[in-house]
């Protein structure tokens, strides 16, 4: 049994996402979540965190970095702009960062696909990883499951989410979703070309998150192997997102001339949230916090045990 102390974590951004993340991390118990950081003393999120036994401050990142014990890992659930400003400060303080914003300072990470590649902190510098988008977390595993069996010249995903689960940040820059997700379908999913579509549906009661993955595949692609690989990947994602499931078996379409002679596999997914703090229909938000919790735990364990001695680190920071 590992008797080393649990890595220490902080959550920056006490909104709905931050609170849901806190509940998940506390339940898991891998990390010692010590701080919840905001900027508004009247924030409900800070109050909720205190009720959950966490030290909460409206003093922002300045306050966090001033603490006697700084965390091993910080979860950033603020905005891209805030993370752009905070990321260098975390790095200098030797704190690993899990970025839930669209800032994408560090590499895209989808736990079921490429987390292992980013756990090694090269050169002793604190790592920073980005959690892509909700649609990316839901669909990239499937694209990867297909592309590890057969080349995928083109992958397209459609993410449908409840209007009520799309916050003002997403709405003000919806292009960021389509562009970031498209890039990650290629960079992480392994497709040669990626395209992402997001739909907001206002129906009441709110619809559960749905995702569809279309992948172009060669005419002779091994359908059985693809189906098996998809099922194996779904089981992998279910390890950290229990409400992630296939709505039907993968659907194969014959090659068509207007598909450049390619065939197609279509995979229909449903993502029901765990209902920790966010409602179960907001699977899009749940998959982000679940993926971030999973990635952050592994990252913190790896980083806490390899980073330069914590005391020295503190002295170095103080000397600056």
């Amino acid at each position: 049994m590992d008797h080393r102390p649990r890595p220490i974590a902080a959550i920056v951004g006490p909104g709905n996402i931050g609170t849901d993340l806190l509940i998940k991390l506390q339940r898991s118990g891998t990390l010692d979540v010590r701080y919840m950081i905001g900027v508004d003393p009247a924030s409900d999120g800070l109050r909720r965190a205190r009720e959950l036994g966490v030290e909460a401050s409206a003093g922002g990142v300045d306050w966090l970095l001033d603490q006697e014990v700084v965390p091993d890992v910080v979860f950033e659930a603020t905005s891209a702009k805030a993370h752009d400003a905070n990321a260098p400060r975390y790095r200098e303080a030797g704190i690993a960062a899990v970025d839930l914003t669209p800032a994408a300072v560090g590499p895209f990470v989808c736990p079921a696909v490429n987390l292992d590649e980013h756990l090694d902190a090269g050169g002793g510098t604190a790592p920073n990883i980005n959690m892509i988008t909700c649609g990316g977390q839901a669909t990239i595993p499937i694209v990867s499951a297909v592309s590890r069996v057969t080349p995928v010249p083109y992958a397209e995903i459609v993410a449908s989410i409840s209007s009520r689960s799309a916050g003002p940040g997403t709405r003000a820059n919806i292009d960021e979703f389509t562009e970031t997700t498209s890039h990650a379908l290629q960079a992480v999913g392994g497709a040669a070309r990626g395209k992402a579509i997001i739909i907001l549906n206002p129906v009441e009661p709110p619809m559960v998150m749905r995702d569809t993955v279309f992948a172009a595949i060669g005419p002779d692609a091994d359908r059985e192997a693809i189906t098996e690989s998809v099922h194996r990947m779904v089981a992998e994602v279910q390890q950290y997102v229990p409400g992630y499931r296939l709505k039907s078996e993968p659907q194969f379409d014959e090659p068509r001339p207007d598909w450049d002679g390619n065939g197609r596999v279509a995979v229909f997914l449903e993502v029901t949230g765990n209902g920790d703090y966010l409602p179960p229909w907001a699977g899009n938000l749940d998959i982000m916090t679940a993926a971030a919790a999973r990635a952050g735990e592994q990252l913190a364990l790896a980083w806490a045990h390899t980073k330069p001695d914590a005391t020295n680190q503190k002295v170095q920071v103080a000397a600056k």
Partner: protein, 357 residues
């Protein structure tokens, strides 16, 4: 009535926007060629139609597995149309969540002078960044509140306000399912006119599912809409759109100035479009069901394909899609529903076999 009499009626003019080359693209499964786009734009321009919309049916970047791939990239079609016309302005459609500001810039560079940004009728705030970008590019703007029948007039007016404040110069009540009846058109257009005042025009975009395209357009005009969409020979999604040539004929008979030459519009429909399009949209069981249950019109051909593939009737798929409240863009859910219905059908078949055994 002669044109001299029309001029003396004092009716305010209405702007006609033809979207044969955008909404009509659905009906030809996005197969328009450069030559067809040139011919149709030229004929519309010759008839005095001031704005011609050219894009994939689902807007910029619509070419996809989910919506169907374009035979010719729509940016190239925009360029072809822009070259073919002398007076008309070329418009493009953009659905946020699919098309991006990047796509809009490309379209503008290819010759598009107007951006029409479409959102579901409760989600107008996702269009703010695109209106801003369009205005920065110097483009004229219009906003589409899709499936307007699902949203009550007062709420729709608030959504229109969001668009107008973002830089939208004309907000459309869009009857994407051809589900609105004249009362519903009047109350919605009226609510938008009251809300927007002089800040933005109000437009109407109708469909033929319940055979109301022209009648609803007239009702919209009476309620204050001053920009109305049509397509030649009603070529469009589902049961088709308000037919441009009928619309201008009716408006002419009513003494409402459109600036469009009715004879030339009739010629464009009869001599240019008719020979190009093999299968015209019709009001059939599937498309009437769409109108009745308020199902997004672009779903029709996708439902027919899924019906073939999974052996369930298209109208049943469409009805189920309507009950589930799916919105424009959720074409993937048609396949999902077809798989589900096929499963139920199989279970029922097995049950019957057991019973008869």
């Amino acid at each position: 009535m002669t044109s001299a009499n029309i001029a003396s009626t004092g009716n305010p003019p209405v702007r006609i926007i033809d979207t044969t080359l955008r909404d009509g693209s659905h009906a030809v499964s996005h197969s328009f060629t450069v030559q067809q786009v040139r011919d149709i734009s030229k004929a519309l321009d010759h008839a005095g139609v001031p704005i011609i919309e050219v894009t994939h049916g689902d807007g910029l970047a619509g070419s996809s597995f989910n919506y169907g791939f374009s035979a010719v990239r729509d940016i190239d079609l925009v360029a072809a149309a822009a070259e073919a016309v002398t007076d008309a302005k070329i418009a493009v459609l953009l659905l946020p969540g699919l098309g991006t500001v990047h796509d809009l810039r490309e379209a503008h560079a290819a010759g598009a002078g107007m951006a029409r940004v479409a959102t579901h009728s409760t989600e107008a705030d996702v269009s703010v960044q695109h209106f801003g970008a369009a205005r920065d590019l110097g483009m004229e703007t219009a906003g589409f509140l899709m499936l307007s029948h699902r949203t009550e007039p007062a709420r729709l007016a608030k959504q229109a306000r969001t668009m107008a404040d973002a830089g939208c110069q004309c907000v459309y009540v869009v009857d994407s399912a051809g589900a609105l009846l004249p009362d519903g058109v009047r109350t919605r257009v009226d609510a938008l006119v009251q809300e927007l005042g002089d800040d933005a025009m109000v437009g109407f975009h109708g469909h033929q599912n319940l055979s109301m395209g022209v009648a609803n357009s007239v009702e919209a005009y009476r309620a204050g809409a001053r920009s109305i969409d049509g397509t030649l020979r009603a070529l469009g999604a589902g049961a088709g759109n308000t037919p441009t040539e009928v619309l201008v004929t009716v408006l002419d008979a009513m003494g409402i100035p459109t600036g469009v030459d009715v004879e030339a519009a009739l010629a464009a429909a009869e001599e240019v479009l008719a020979p190009i399009v093999r299968r015209m949209p019709v009001m059939d069981r599937s498309s009437i069901v769409q109108g009745r249950y308020g199902v997004y019109n672009s779903f029709l051909l996708h439902a027919e394909r899924a019906a073939d593939r999974y052996g369930v009737p298209a109208y049943q798929i469409l009805r189920r899609v309507g009950e589930a409240g799916y919105v424009g863009g959720q074409e993937d859910m048609i396949i999902d529903v077809a798989i589900e219905l096929a499963g139920l059908q199989r279970q029922a078949g097995e049950h019957n076999e057991r019973v008869s055994a």
